[in-house]
């Protein structure tokens, strides 16, 4: 019974994940081109925290450059990595339950392509960074709304989930074509590289303000999903059975799609098109704690956060030049996915 361990092991897994994430955060604050000794980090964080309450701690030993690096550069980036990873994983986990298919990723309804197009267009029009993110977020929502609308018209209540997946594919490739069009008309010396780099994903230029702007839709998306996670389980038996068990599936589907879209669009708007995370993290979590969403969703949240932080650390530290995040997640994700397929366990493949 490797797939479903007893409930006793769940607290162990969660504790381990929390502790692991904590140490990974400390490590991530320390490593980088400008090395900060781990021992200095609690002092810097403590000082920053206490000074907010008006308590000044005199520590002459802290280099102001070190303080800036930690508080203004690395901290926002680390928090962004954690939340982007968590958001994509929770969205993926919810979609896998909703579409009753463990091969579904959060961009199935076109959210990522839409968000990518929004960003590409904003870059083309020379918008400032804030507007690029807003446009990206907005077009993510637009793409999914389009999918939902077409889907409702086509399905007329029958087989709604399957129709949604199909229309999602259509809308996704439509926006992918729009992205290509934007690239085609972009100035090849300035705009094209900017669009290309943005689409490859990365957290290089993240500021604390951007993070807070993205955090609002993320929390609005996250909290209902966490609260509804028991109902996600019931959906696994299909629309009809869930309805016979007293669930208003149309309403639930609507809420899940809105929440997951908020999460995905917000994540893509600050991190670019980072693939694979929303697909493989729920798998990994399911291997650890089983398919019950009551445990699975929080576990996906934690693993996703830690995974994204780890990958971002590799992106910024492992090579002399920084690697785009989307490339790294694919480099890690694709082989892992093949590994999953090779193991071919019934039940979750």
């Amino acid at each position: 019974m490797q797939e479903r361990r007893g409930s006793a092991s769940v607290p162990v897994v969660v504790t381990f994940l929390l502790a692991g994430t904590f140490f990974l955060v400390l490590l991530s604050l320390s490593i980088g081109r400008y090395y900060v000794p781990v021992t200095k980090i609690p002092v810097i964080l403590g000082k920053s925290l206490f000074s907010r309450f008006g308590w000044i701690i005199s520590t002459t030993a802290i280099d102001p450059v070190m303080e800036t690096v930690i508080l203004n550069v690395r901290m926002p980036r680390i928090l962004a990595a954690l939340f982007v990873g968590a958001a994509l994983s929770v969205a993926g986990c919810s979609y896998q339950a909703l579409f009753r298919n463990p091969m579904v990723s959060p961009d199935i309804l076109g959210a990522s392509s839409g968000a990518g197009f929004g960003a590409a267009m904003a870059i083309l029009l020379s918008f400032p960074l804030g507007l690029i993110q807003l446009s990206s977020f907005g077009f993510g929502l637009v793409a999914v709304a389009l999918t939902w609308l077409i889907g409702s018209v086509v399905s007329r209540g029958n087989n709604a989930t399957m129709v949604l997946v199909l229309t999602g594919m259509v809308v996704g490739s439509l926006f992918a074509a729009f992205i290509s069009l934007t690239k085609y008309v972009a100035d090849p010396y300035s705009k094209l590289p900017a669009i290309t780099f943005w689409l490859m994903g990365g957290l290089t230029s993240i500021r604390l303000y951007d993070l807070f702007m993205a955090l609002v839709p993320m929390l609005i998306g996250l909290l209902p999903l966490i609260a509804l996670r028991w109902r996600l389980n019931v959906l696994a038996f299909g629309d009809e059975e869930a309805r016979a068990m007293g669930i208003n599936t149309r309403q639930l589907r609507f809420v899940i799609i809105i929440c997951s879209t908020l999460l995905t669009s917000a994540a893509v708007s600050i991190a670019g098109m980072v693939g694979w995370v929303g697909l493989i993290i729920p798998h990994l979590a399911r291997m650890l704690v089983g398919p019950d969403c009551r445990v699975l969703l929080p576990t996906s949240f934690l693993i996703g956060a830690a995974f994204m932080l780890g990958v971002d650390d590799i992106a910024r530290c492992a090579f002399p030049m920084e690697l785009p995040l989307g490339i790294l997640t694919a480099l890690v994700g694709a082989p892992f996915f093949i590994f999953l397929l090779l193991r071919g366990r019934k039940g979750w493949i």
């Binding site: 479903r4 028991w230 068990m245 007293g246």
Partner: protein, 270 residues
């Protein structure tokens, strides 16, 4: 308790079941017989409100359930679908506990009490040994029993079973029918479909035979299940036989008559 009046069902413009009327009281088992494709499943889905009706009424204690919220409907009528495999490996207890959703608020998850009631139901059905097993790995007959348990956890008054004996081996078929008899004896109103006319004699108190014309003939067993009616419904010759058991009990059973080789030859020549 349940009464269906002039109910028509179908998909879109296509009427599959035309103005049928049925009634069912607590403790009764209504068996629905009929060949493939006459709309037994459509009728079930309409009763469960999984698809809209094309006319007529479904009343529970005289109250039209059309306007009921899905949760109230689930607390009254529970559905036992044909067992299939969900994509995720839930444990049997998890699956059975899902029935509690009919009594839970939007944002609540099952409590320890709900879990206990799931365990109790498994025990009542005699399958408590399955509780920790993975639902996707147990046998078809066991899965059918688990789905019955899940429906019972909804604490319904009416149980709707869609071919509960299909895909089961001989022994499991009879075991499931015995459980259905027990549930009816405890006061549950049960509607089920079956492909085996024999099962009607084994467990039902009333029977409805659906023909290809979307009409339905409902009534007592002796009235409805006759050799001529079965033959016209299924297109094969049958013989009804009464068997006297050693304890004096009489069991009726239905024997299909195979066409002999000469019959087949005759048909080939004409």
């Amino acid at each position: 308790m349940l009464s269906i009046r002039e109910l028509s069902c179908g998909y879109g413009q296509k009427t599959v079941v035309d103005r049928i009327s049925l009634t069912l009281e607590a403790g009764e088992i209504l068996c629905l017989l009929g060949p493939n494709g006459v709309g037994k499943t459509t009728l079930f889905k309409t009763i469960l409100h999984l698809q809209p009706s094309l006319g007529g009424q479904i009343l529970v204690d005289g109250e039209d359930i059309k306007s009921w919220p899905s949760q109230r409907r689930a607390q009254t009528i529970a559905y036992v679908p044909q067992a299939h495999t969900p994509p995720f490996p839930f444990t049997v207890t998890d699956v059975v506990t899902m029935g509690c959703t009919a009594h839970l608020g939007m944002f609540s998850a099952p409590s320890a009490n709900d879990r206990q009631s799931a365990e109790d139901t498994l025990e009542m059905l005699g399958i408590e040994h399955l509780s920790a097993c993975i639902y996707t790995e147990i046998s078809g007959g066991e899965r059918q029993m688990v789905l019955i348990a899940r429906a019972l956890v909804q604490r319904p008054r009416i149980l709707v079973l869609d071919e509960p004996t299909s895909n089961l081996d001989f022994g499991n078929q009879i075991k499931v029918l015995q459980k259905i008899n027990q549930l009816a004896a405890q006061g549950m109103a049960i509607i089920m479909t079956t492909h085996f006319p024999n099962h009607v004699f084994l467990c039902s108190t009333c029977v409805a035979l659906m023909g290809r014309d979307g009409r339905i003939l409902a009534g007592s067993l002796d009235e409805v299940v006759t050799e001529t009616r079965l033959e016209s419904a299924y297109g094969v010759k049958v013989k009804l036989v009464d068997i006297l058991l050693d304890d004096g009990q009489i069991v009726r059973t239905c024997v299909p008559l195979m066409e002999t080789e000469s019959h087949v030859m005759e048909l080939a020549h004409t």
